[in-house]
Symmetry: C2
Subunit: 211 residues, 2 copies
Amino acid sequence: MRISFIVRPVVLSFDAMIMATTRQDIMLQGLDLLSVRGLDASTLGVLAQRVGLSKSGLFAHFKSKDELQLALLDQSARTADRLFVAPAMSRQEGLPRLRALVKGWLGWTTRAGLSGGCPLSAGMFEYDDQPNGRVRRRLLHLERKWRELLGALTQEAVDLGHLTDHLDIDQFVWELCGIYLSHHVSLRFVRDRKATRRAVTAFNALVERSK
Amino acid sequence: MRISFIVRPVVLSFDAMIMATTRQDIMLQGLDLLSVRGLDASTLGVLAQRVGLSKSGLFAHFKSKDELQLALLDQSARTADRLFVAPAMSRQEGLPRLRALVKGWLGWTTRAGLSGGCPLSAGMFEYDDQPNGRVRRRLLHLERKWRELLGALTQEAVDLGHLTDHLDIDQFVWELCGIYLSHHVSLRFVRDRKATRRAVTAFNALVERSK
């Protein structure tokens, strides 16, 4: 099974390789900005100020706000991949692997060293009613890939007899996404100390009635 | 039981009464703007343009962006109250009332004639990592009141024997909020035609395992 939920690999040109260190700093700062402020507020001007570059200096890396936002969304997904998707894939197939993935998913941005919440979840509420431009399409693509991965791992758990073969996989994934979103709100917005305990209880209940 | 989840009633001064019709138009347009664009993009300038007033004309109604945002958040809650909370309260106590409330809650903004999604849900993702200012506090207050209402109706269903008296009410409400958020994402962002069917299936499963 493919362990990444990103489709396109990162291919750097020679020029881009020379700029790689600066770019890495920019991406780190940019991802942090995105996690706290959301897509619309992640502008070239704000990011330039944050990394101590002129706006035209930042233009050498990103030609437009759209390009910056697309790069940051991809970076979010790559960070998640490295932080908890890849490690979960080394776990025993089926339910143990799915459990490890969900455990790593809940509150992953804090463990990634980000000051804010999940850029992809926040983006889905920011762009839900926006026209279907490049940024919305990229977000939707990443969300679909993510749900495909959750679905594939759930299917694996069914195939191995860890979950019932009558299971509606899409419904399982849909409810799992609800648990993640409710956890995000209770952890970051309500700031409820029981947030993670509640999410684990909800996930265990979902698994129990799917056996 | 109190049927509203708003604490403060709307009290209009004499001046405000004279301006009420204009204000009503502004609030309608403002709520629509908020539902589509979110809190940060709901500025006095954008709204003034939308309602065909000068920015200084709008200042007669709202002294600052904060005041506009607070008024619009309260208006969201009042609209929800009138549209589906009050009608649900006329239903038979216990599970029937809770079911009616959840049915009215899912996708309520479309039935309210708004172009976008739920301003309170989107606001919780927009303001999760913001400092604790007036807008964040108001959002949190409204969310707490809402969860209190959901909790009170769930408790009623327990008291009437419709749900088990071993039920963890807060956990039930927490999971219900997850179903609402997952529905919001699948309806408005993913634009999945099965969104409401999935939410109803999830809610029924939550109720079944709470009996």
